[in-house]
Subunit: 256 residues, 2 copies
């Protein structure tokens, strides 16, 4: 995130943008960092950075080790996350459906929230008890246009091709589809209401996604099903149908 400067300048509360950048950096690094290295990394003035850190420490969002003078994320961030999880309407409604699908088909299911063309965040997950299982974690971020979810977002987001193409070019796939193929698959998703990624994103792994709307416009969320290739091949048509149904019913519940 090198455009911190822009964000800071644009805002009337720049300290908050800096604080968020610090939190994200500490989260990404994982290991504790000193004032100077944080400041250097984010292009901040060390003294300013110090004040930001002190404020975050006071809020228990950042932990300070007096011996090593290093800073790291603290448990306060958990409390916020828990509060969010507890009250998010999509999550509450999606979880039972995700559990049901995971169990019935022996797969991993996800609920994700869409942030425009930038990225998606996994907000709910369910796994069947089976032995081998693809897994991710709640809170993970992925590029918006990748895999099955990406085709969904492209299909139902009404974005001009000029916005899509450059982002598409920067994606990382195991087996990247050509732009033409991808567009065809997006078109198919638009018609059927479900998107499929058959081993493109991760070789040998099939990902299915159906869009969920909260209000009108672009889809705000999506339901995702992940299965190891051969395991669900025969069930694929039925899974697509069921996933689409679950997504539609969720959208209806979110309207009210």
């Amino acid at each position: 995130m090198t455009n911190l400067d822009d964000t800071v300048k644009a805002s009337k509360a720049p300290a908050i943008a800096r604080a968020a950048a610090v939190l994200r950096l500490l989260g990404k690094r994982g290991s504790p960092m000193g004032v100077q290295s944080i400041a250097r990394e984010l292009g901040l003035v060390p003294s300013t950075c110090l004040y930001v850190l002190r404020a975050l420490v006071a809020e228990e969002l950042v932990a300070f080790d007096g011996d090593t003078k290093r800073y790291a994320l603290d448990a306060g961030v958990l409390t916020l996350a828990r509060a969010w999880l507890r009250r998010d309407q999509f999550n509450d409604l999606a979880q039972p459906a995700l559990d049901r699908l995971a169990r019935e088909f022996g797969i991993t299911t996800l609920g994700v929230q869409v942030f425009g063309l930038d990225h998606i965040i996994v907000t709910a997950m369910s796994q069947s008890g089976q032995n081998f299982q693809l897994s991710t974690q709640v809170g993970s971020r992925f590029p918006a246009l990748v895999s099955a979810t990406g085709r969904c977002i492209a299909a139902f987001g009404n974005y001009p091709e000029g916005d899509l193409r450059p982002r598409f070019e920067h994606l990382r796939w195991d087996e990247a589809p050509s732009w033409e193929n991808w567009c065809a698959q997006v078109e198919e998703a638009r018609e059927t209401g479900v998107a499929v990624d058959a081993g493109n994103y991760i070789a040998g792994v099939t990902v299915i996604a159906a869009p969920v709307w909260k209000g009108t416009g672009s889809p705000s969320h999506a339901l995702v099903a992940i299965g190891i290739g051969a395991a669900l091949r025969s069930e694929l048509p039925r899974l697509k149908e069921v996933l689409r149904g679950a997504a539609r019913s969720l959208s209806e519940q979110l309207e009210g």
Copy 2:
């Protein structure tokens, strides 16, 4: 948190204190709130509050609904929490021990982080597969001095009685112990290295806690075991012994 003013004034980055207060308020309320009500609740100037909110929205920590003009927590907080969970040393080391204890004794176990005399936060949890089970959630906050953890903190924190007593008086228990009884139990915890709450905090529920140190001074964390009264009565001595052992071994690992 009515001392927001103090925190704001003391800091050189007051916007961060305000932002944190807003996030916590939104977390506590759960339901979306308007600028005005947030400002009123926190004693902020509405215009300032608006700028804070806009900055938080830009960071995806707060979601803004343009139709209703309401603000609520957003999924960004999850990403931070995940990063923290992944890298917290105490959590990584404690989880296997918690799982083992939960399974062996058929109980619920917790790892908590201590924030002085203010509060503790649950950062790890393990539950046995049994039918009836007390449960809480990762991220929950409790007053520092309550239940078994409270006796641990009082026993090993080296706090003067003058700091403890007023806080003790404000606690809520199902069956509050008298100050004298509580002090005796704290003393016992100091001698044995394990604290027990036998139905005081929640009637019929036994809670056991052992302190964990990260460096010297007051305990930074604690391991907690929770069981429905009668179920673990016969096992209690052994559980105390095992919990203390796990806590000690954790403390040693955290030293390095």
